[in-house]
């Protein structure tokens, strides 16, 4: 039988993959994908823990809410990346280091 632990392990794996993508990828689009993966890992956790709220389905509802938010965030993120690309002519984060002191 599939238990809560299985969900959480899968969720942790997806989160780690997302984290890795955010930290290591040389493409900003891929970082955005990594963020999306991490959000989805969190949404998976919502749904998994949603079994404890069988009256209001708060977990499920919050998952839907989060998915919408993630879509919006991705849209914003892509817009930023587009602007960054226009400005720097690259989307490799190693070359974008204006934050440096």
């Amino acid at each position: 039988m599939i238990t809560l632990t299985h969900f959480l392990v899968v969720s942790a794996c997806i989160f780690s993959i997302g984290l890795y993508a955010v930290l290591a990828k040389r493409n900003t689009i891929m970082i955005l994908v990594g963020i999306e993966l991490m959000i989805n890992a969190a949404i998976l956790n919502f749904v998994a823990f949603g079994k404890y709220d069988k009256i209001n389905y708060g977990g499920q509802v919050f998952a839907l809410f989060a998915i919408v938010l993630a879509a919006a965030a991705v849209a914003v993120g892509l817009a930023i990346i587009l602007n960054v690309y226009r400005h720097f002519k690259t989307i490799n984060p190693e070359n974008i280091h204006e934050l440096k002191d």
Binding site: V22, L23, A24, H97, L99, K100
Partner: protein, 669 residues
């Protein structure tokens, strides 16, 4: 006359004092405009008249009167300033006035045309004021103030011709030596005040009270007596502090006559007479010894002098020695008597010498010669040109030598005979004192004879100039009248009608001091005879030596040199005190330079070295510490700055690491 009778002797003696002061102030204000000397003359005439009619005649031989005013209070002691009129002070004040008056008149002619004449009159008035104030002072401190004023005024007058180097040296010397005496006087005053708590002469020496304030046989009284005597020694030119007086001849001759006769040098004797009750046997013996030594040494030095004024100066010192002996043997009445007679004839001697010098200086100026007008070797045979001066000077000289019919005879005999009585009462070696005094008297006759013979007899070196139309004449009347007046005062009638017995003179009768020793009648016969005989023999010898040119001694005789150089005392002082002080100051300079400065330098060197160490410490340790922190901070910052590389992913990675570490910490905790 009647108006004077209405004012008390006290008021009168204040007036006597104030007139010269007023004259001094007026002349000081007028400055160069007052050259006639009339103001000073009027002042002294007023003083003399008031002194005679207002103080002396009413005050003489009556009980002493005094008046005092509160001066200032220190703690519980109040010091009084006041006036004391008794026989002694009235006599002294009168003598000062009577001597100062002819000197003022004489000065009008003598100082005429001097460029500094306005200063002369001013100083002369100040001098008279100081001396007149000194005579009637009630308080020892008050007396001391006038004493200092006298010293200061004499300093001004001795150095009157201040462009002359010798005059400047002389007044400096007089001032310095008088300072030594002043210290003595001051110590005496301090001792008396410490032990008695008062300085009033009337309280201190109250004869009427049953318990005297001063027990004179105590050690402090001896010290105080010696201290007062030291003061008198300097002022009255006693050996060895007499050295200033011969040098003081650098002042104008009229000033010399005043200093020598009544004002400056008389102050010392007057002081001793005033504080006489304080002296015990020891002090009196010291006074006698110093007095005799002074009389003898000064007479010897006078023999070898060529300068007219220096001979007279040494004769003054010698006569002051006599007065000191008079005080020392307890007969201060005889000392005061001699002081009075001496004032007349010594003043006259100086005025005569001044007249001679005046004429010699005129001759020198007119004939354009180069010689010292005071040097005996250039003067001679003047009796033909200046017969009146000659007559006056002979009278003064006879009086100085103690020849019968003169006042000097009476007063000198009074001292010598009393000294003989004193010595025969004590017996033993004390007899040496009167014997020495007799020898000194004969020497006195000899050296004053030498002066007369050299100046008025013999041949005149510059006679040829006079023949060629140069005038050389008698002194003018303004100088002659004072001289004649003083000549009259040098004869016996002024002091009493008795020719031979000094006990019958009015001064001795009024002052009369009880002596412990008996009167010896035979001494009254043989001592005057001895003195007169000795004087005549001395003059005969002098006549042979100086007039007939049978001079037996060569000029290079060591004794003549010794006497001429004043016993090498100046050289001695110069070597011991002046050179000694210079040497001492050199040593002190070296000490200051090497030890004191050395110490300072050592300290500064030490401080410098210390500061080098401190600098090093500051630079390396304190700054080092600060720098260390700075460097450490910088290095740490350097290490950490790699975090801020601008890489978005790197920031995220670090944040993650920290979060992971935080979680690990929470787990492990």
């Amino acid at each position: 006359m009647n108006t004077f009778l209405h004012i008390s002797p006290i008021t009168a003696s204040i007036l006597v004092m104030l007139f010269p002061l007023l004259a001094f102030i007026i002349q000081a204000v007028l400055g160069k405009k007052s050259i006639s000397g009339n103001i000073a003359l009027i002042g002294i005439i007023a003083s003399a008249v008031i002194s005679l009619f207002g103080v002396f005649l009413p005050g003489w031989n009556s009980t002493s009167v005094l008046q005092k005013w509160e001066w200032f209070t220190i703690g519980e002691h109040t010091l009084y300033v006041g006036i004391l009129v008794n026989n002694l002070t009235a006599l002294m004040q009168l003598v000062v006035c009577i001597i100062a008056l002819p000197v003022h008149i004489y000065s009008r002619a003598y100082m005429k045309g001097d460029s500094g004449i306005h200063r002369y009159w001013m100083y002369l008035s100040l001098f008279c004021f100081a001396m007149l104030g000194l005579t009637v002072s009630l308080n020892l401190l008050q007396l001391y103030i006038f004493w200092e004023l006298v010293g200061f005024a004499s300093y001004l007058l001795i150095g009157f011709w201040f462009t002359k180097e010798t005059a400047v040296q002389a007044n400096k010397k007089a001032f310095l030596i008088n300072r030594i005496g002043d210290i003595g006087f001051l110590i005496g005053i301090a001792l008396v005040y410490a032990h008695c708590g008062t300085l009033d002469l009337s309280t201190l020496f109250d004869q009427t009270s049953s318990t005297p304030l001063i027990d004179k046989n105590t050690p402090w009284a001896t010290f105080a007596g010696l201290a007062f005597f030291l003061g008198a020694m300097a002022k009255s030119a006693q050996f060895p502090l007499h050295v200033w007086l011969p040098d003081a001849m650098e002042g104008p001759t009229s000033v010399s006559s005043l200093i020598h006769a009544a004002t400056m040098v008389a102050a010392g004797v007057f002081l001793l007479c005033t504080v006489f009750p304080l002296f015990n046997e020891t002090v009196l013996l010291v006074i006698v010894l110093i007095g005799t030594l002074t009389a003898l040494s000064a007479a010897l030095f006078a023999l070898g002098q060529y300068d007219i004024k220096k001979i007279l100066a040494f004769s003054t010192i010698s006569q002051l020695g006599f007065m000191m002996v008079g005080v020392g043997i307890g007969a201060w009445d005889a000392a005061m008597f001699h002081l009075t007679t001496h004032a007349f004839f010594k003043c006259l001697l100086f005025l005569c010498a001044g007249a001679v010098i005046h004429e010699m200086a005129h001759l020198k100026a007119k004939a354009q010669l180069e010689f010292d007008p005071q040097d005996l070797r250039h003067i001679g045979g003047l009796r033909r040109f200046m017969p009146k001066t000659f007559g006056c000077m002979v009278i003064a000289s006879l009086s100085l030598a103690g020849f019968p019919f003169t006042s000097g005879y009476l007063s000198k005999d009074s001292i010598v005979i009393t000294a003989y009585e004193w010595a025969s009462h004590l017996g033993g070696v004390y007899v040496l004192i009167p014997v020495l005094l007799i020898i000194v008297s004969i020497l006195t006759a000899f050296y004053i004879g030498r002066l007369i013979f050299k100046v008025f007899f013999g041949s005149f070196k510059y006679r040829s100039y006079i023949k060629t139309g140069m005038t050389f004449h008698e002194a003018p009347n303004a100088m002659l009248i004072p001289m004649l007046f003083l000549a009259a005062g040098s004869l016996f009638p002024l002091f009493g009608l008795s020719l031979t017995n000094y006990h019958h003179t009015w001064i001795m009768q009024a002052l009369d001091v009880d002596t412990v020793y008996p009167t010896l009648t035979q001494a009254h016969l043989f001592i005057p005879a001895l003195l007169t005989g000795g004087a005549i023999l001395g003059w005969l010898l002098g006549w042979n030596w100086y007039v007939k040119n049978k001079y037996p001694l060569s000029e290079n005789n060591s004794f003549v040199h010794f006497a001429n150089k004043q016993g090498y005392l100046n050289e001695f002082n110069d070597r011991i005190f002046v050179k000694g002080s210079i040497k001492l100051s050199r040593i002190l300079y070296a000490f200051d330079r090497h030890v004191v400065d050395g110490l300072t330098n050592l300290f500064s060197w030490f401080v410098r070295q210390l500061s080098v160490v401190v600098y090093w410490f500051d630079k390396h340790v304190i700054d080092g510490l600060v720098n260390l922190f700075a460097h450490a901070t910088y290095y740490i910052g350097h290490l950490v700055r790699h975090v801020q590389n601008g890489q978005l992913q790197a920031y995220l990675g670090f944040a993650l690491t920290i979060v992971v570490l935080g979680i690990l910490y929470l787990i492990i905790k």
